[in-house]
């Protein structure tokens, strides 16, 4: 099963080099590499489910100097989501970029992004996490500039600077950790880290850096322009996966590495910022004039929900109730990944087929793309958190945790945010009904419409109805 771990990094990386060398057959090579990577992710998921957490020391170097790959239930799940989302987005991208020159620039960067995501989820120590985080940021910025327009370049530059600042803060924290405890190994650190100025400063710096990258309110300012001006398949992975990578690190730090350092007050602060993100992000999404901006603001809001879990997780004693809440958090993150990626792909279809994505002018146009409109509806179900989406189960745990610990504020925020989400989603869907005759075929452009439909169905149906194994998998820790 360690082969699968190596494959997850080596396959997309090889693909990236190959697409650079063979620009003419880049699409075929890239899709092939993507398929192989997805198979590796599935093998890893089964491996972790059956054999427990895995680790591998590359080149035989021991932990510390060498690179250690680790996979537990959480990382296996995120890797699976990454592969499925990236594969679907790849298929869509093969139709999205029409010019050969565009494709030649796109595929190497795309596979590099995929490589860095996989490497990040597999990294077993803080420094490798820094490197992969940086690699991820750089490839994401380069991809975001492919939008071509001036606005895209401006947004990408801002994105880059914010990302660099975030990684530098993270690295400073990492240095402090090494100074204080002499190790960066994720498995060793939880045992040696203890409350004190070093741990607090390091945690504060690393968390701030990561919050910047995961765009938690009020550090979200860079996200809407960057995500809204990138090409559709890029926006999909930026919103679905890249911000999740930084969030994954926050989760690891707060729940594993610094588990005995973090305090309820600090967690409440995160929760409060999350609450502001939910309300402000949803409100701005409701005001948005363009679909892509709506989706980007909705990402700000959806990330907020994830942070609402922190005060609950800290208030609950270790045990089954806490595990339920933690599972709800991961379920919400996974559902959002699939839903948001699908939403951006669907918006891409509308933008290319209708020539614009202005919400006010969608009347009639959306009707010619019933499958895409349906994909938006499915994504909406997941973003609102209605059954049978995975987000419903996630929000159920959020509400249950809030009731359990008597933290009613988060309950009110969640309810309000969900209703606001319903308002912005149905504001779009209302335009899909009209008098124009229905096209003869439900799915009009298969390669463009199916990826979005499958991703959103994954979020709105599969995760909700078949998501119970997620909780089982999360019991498998490092």
């Amino acid at each position: 099963m360690t082969d699968a771990m190596i494959g997850l990094v080596a396959l997309p990386l090889t693909g990236a080099v190959a697409t650079l060398l063979l620009p003419r057959s880049a699409t075929v090579v890239a899709i092939g590499a993507g398929l192989a990577t997805t198979i590796a992710a599935a093998l890893l998921l089964f491996g972790v489910a059956n054999q427990g957490a895995l680790h591998y020391e590359m080149g035989g170097w021991s932990t510390g100097l060498g690179i250690t790959l680790r996979a537990d239930g959480l990382s296996a799940l995120l890797l699976m989501m990454t592969s499925l989302v990236a594969l679907a987005a790849s298929v869509y991208a093969s139709a999205y970029f029409s010019a050969a020159s565009e494709r030649a620039r796109f595929w190497p960067l795309w596979l590099l992004l995929w490589t860095s995501l996989n490497a990040l989820f597999l990294s077993g120590d803080l420094f490798n996490l820094y490197v992969t985080l940086e690699l991820l940021g750089l490839s994401a910025v380069a991809l975001a500039t492919l939008g071509g327009k001036r606005a895209a370049a401006e947004a990408a530059l801002r994105y880059l600077l914010v990302g660099l600042l975030g990684s530098m803060l993270f690295l400073a924290g990492v240095s402090l950790i090494y100074a204080g405890y002499g190790t960066l190994d994720l498995a060793t650190l939880p045992r040696v880290v203890e409350p004190g100025p070093i741990a607090w400063t390091a945690l504060a710096m690393m968390t701030t850096g990561l919050l910047l990258k995961t765009a938690l309110f009020p550090l979200h300012f860079w996200l809407p322009p960057a995500h809204a001006s990138a090409p559709a398949p890029v926006s999909a992975v930026l919103s679905a996966l890249v911000v999740k990578a930084a969030f994954y690190l926050v989760l690891r730090l707060w729940l594993d590495v610094f588990a005995n350092v973090v305090t309820p007050v600090a967690a409440n602060l995160l929760g409060l910022l999350g609450a502001c993100a939910v309300l402000w992000g949803s409100w701005r999404a409701l005001q948005a004039e363009r679909l892509k901006l709506l989706a980007a603001w909705s990402t700000v809001a959806q990330l907020g929900y994830l942070f609402l879990f922190f005060p609950l997780l800290l208030a609950l004693p270790p045990g089954p109730t806490r595990d339920l809440a933690a599972g709800g958090l991961v379920m919400l993150a996974l559902t959002h990944g699939f839903a948001k990626a699908g939403l951006f792909l669907a918006i891409g279809v509308i933008q290319q087929r209708c020539g614009h994505d202005t919400i006010r002018d969608l009347d009639g146009t959306a009707q010619h793309l019933p499958a895409t409109t349906f994909a938006i509806a499915l994504a909406g179900v997941a973003l609102i958190g209605l059954p049978p989406s995975g987000a419903f189960l996630g929000k159920w745990q959020l509400l249950a945790g809030a009731v359990e610990t008597g933290q009613w504020l988060w309950l009110v925020v969640t309810a309000t945010g969900s209703l606001l989400a319903a308002a912005y989603i149905f504001r779009v869907l209302g335009h899909a009904f009209g008098h124009q005759p229905y096209p003869n075929q439900p799915v009009t452009v298969a390669r463009e419409e199916w990826p979005a439909l499958l991703l959103t169905a994954m979020a709105a149906l599969v995760l909700g109805l078949g998501g119970a194994p997620v909780w089982k998998l999360l019991e498998i820790g490092t």
Partner: protein
């Protein structure tokens, strides 16, 4: 899983799967779509027949699927669910036939019938829900699948009506969800059990349980159109007639009322609800709704609007019956779940027929319509008389049991006046319509005659459904004492609830 576990799943799937296939059909494949619809509806009818027989013989049908640790999706057939499932299934078949006739050559039929099937699947799932968690899931699915049906015509009014519907129902759904989660934290998985499960909780929980009850009832009351939560219902009238028919008779409004029955009888337990002092409040809310809806109906010239306010009023008889302690009141409330459904669907079918055939939308345009469309008007008359409570139509049976139950429970002092006032008001808004239709001279021309009189007064697919449902309404009253009649089944439910 064996057959007993599969049956509830199959009952839901028999409309769900055809619905999903229909979405992907080309707009022109009219015959395949019709065939799928009818095969699904008939298959469902057969499966439900088996279900009725089995439940009567105390057979246990249950399917369970774990969604998350401690959260199971449970489909379970008990007497109450079978009653609602049967009503939905029979009326779905009839409405499908009607809708095929009604939407002939209209655009977007694949979308329409797809969501129509989803809507019925959600209703049936809700009827078979074995715990509150499952109920909430199907309750929200029902909201989602109804929205496209209300917005179907795509006019600004339709989209607006659908938006108002959504605002009300999603808001209500959120309260229902919060109440359910809260209850789940207090009491664990809340399975529907005859007699309720909350009575055994310690007394210190009682204040919380009261708040939760309020949340649940408000959440359900939105769909059940309890005043002042009824605002969406008249707006939703913009939907095509088959949708209105289904909405008012089985799907949405009834889902709310059914939920109230479930919460009172099978979650809290009627005796425990009474002990918490919540039953009277529910009864008063129902009484206010009954009278208010009737008064509003009196002033509507638009026929569908008049019927909509009549629904507001009539559905609350179910809540009223629930609030009357004792088996006879229970019977009255539960049997009205079926009776109101059959009668109201007839009224909406016939209203649709007037509009489709002659372009009649207003009561004031109905002069002499009985001569032009005698069968339709006869069906309308039977159902209207039933609503008023004239024997031997079904509505009489409901009101009789409600009155008797109130006497038995010592609540006659306020229930009786409500019943009498509402019946007088029912007569006041229905009898003038009947008078116009049968005895007034028709005007020189109908507003817009779409379908000329040929062999029948209108197209066959439009004519037969109301005739069939009117006959059912009459039969449910005439043969109320026959085995497997709605009344007998409601009696069975009441006996099992009270452990008689």
């Amino acid at each position: 899983m064996n057959w007993d576990a599969w049956l509830p799943v199959l009952v839901v799937a028999s409309s769900l799967l055809p619905g999903l296939v229909i979405f992907f059909l080309r707009e022109g494949s009219h015959r395949l779509r019709t065939a799928l619809n009818l095969v699904g509806a008939i298959l469902k009818l057969v499966l439900v027949g088996i279900l009725i027989w089995g439940v009567f013989h105390e057979h246990v049908y249950e399917s369970r699927w774990t969604l998350a640790p401690g959260l199971d999706l449970v489909l379970h057939a008990d007497t109450l669910s079978v009653l609602f499932v049967t009503l939905s299934t029979v009326l779905w078949l009839v409405t499908t036939v009607y809708a095929i006739g009604y939407l002939e050559n209209a655009p977007h039929r694949s979308r329409f019938f797809g969501f129509f099937s989803l809507c019925v699947s959600a209703t049936v799932g809700l009827a078979l829900a074995g715990n509150l968690f499952t109920f909430v899931i199907f309750y929200e699915l029902l909201t989602l699948s109804t929205y496209p049906l209300i917005a179907h015509r795509g006019t600004p009014e339709a989209v607006r009506g659908a938006r108002i519907y959504l605002a009300y129902t999603l808001g209500g759904g959120m309260l229902l969800l919060i109440g359910t989660v809260w209850l789940h934290v207090l009491a664990g998985p809340t399975a529907f059990v005859e007699g309720g499960i909350l009575g055994r909780l310690p007394a210190e929980y009682h204040p919380q349980l009261k708040v939760i009850f309020l949340l649940l009832i408000i959440g359900l009351g939105v769909k059940a159109a309890l005043v002042p939560l009824h605002g969406w219902l008249p707006q939703a009238m913009v939907a095509p007639a088959p949708v209105s028919a289904l909405l008012h008779a089985v799907a949405v409004v009834k889902a709310g009322a059914f939920g109230i029955v479930r919460v009172v009888y099978d979650v809290y337990g009627v005796n425990f609800t009474d002990q918490l002092g919540l039953l009277t409040g529910l009864g008063i809310a129902a009484a206010i709704t009954i009278v208010y809806g009737s008064i509003k109906a009196l002033f509507q010239d638009n026929l569908k609007k008049r019927l909509a306010y009549s629904t507001v009023s009539q559905v609350s008889y179910i809540a009223l019956g629930t609030a009357i302690l004792g088996p006879i009141g229970t019977i009255g409330g539960i049997v009205h779940l079926v009776h109101q459904g059959i009668m109201k669907i007839t009224l909406f079918f016939t209203a649709g027929n007037y509009a489709e055939t002659l372009g009649i939308h207003k009561v004031s345009e109905m002069n002499g319509v009985g001569r032009r469309m005698p069968a339709t008007t006869l069906a309308f008359s039977v159902a209207a008389l039933g609503m008023i409570g004239v024997p031997p139509v079904a509505g009489f049976v409901s009101k009789w049991y409600l009155g008797l139950g109130a006497l038995e429970a010592g609540m006659a002092a306020w229930v009786m006046p409500v019943l009498i006032i509402s019946s007088v008001l029912n007569a006041a808004y229905f009898l003038p319509v009947l008078y116009r239709a049968w005895f007034r001279e028709p005007g020189p021309a109908w507003p817009a005659e779409h379908i000329p009189a040929a062999r029948f007064e209108t197209s066959a697919a439009l004519l037969w459904p109301p005739v069939v449902t009117a006959t059912l309404a009459l039969a449910a009253g005439l043969f109320a004492a026959a085995p497997y009649s709605p009344l007998e089944w409601a009696t069975l439910i009441a006996h099992r609830e009270y452990g008689l």
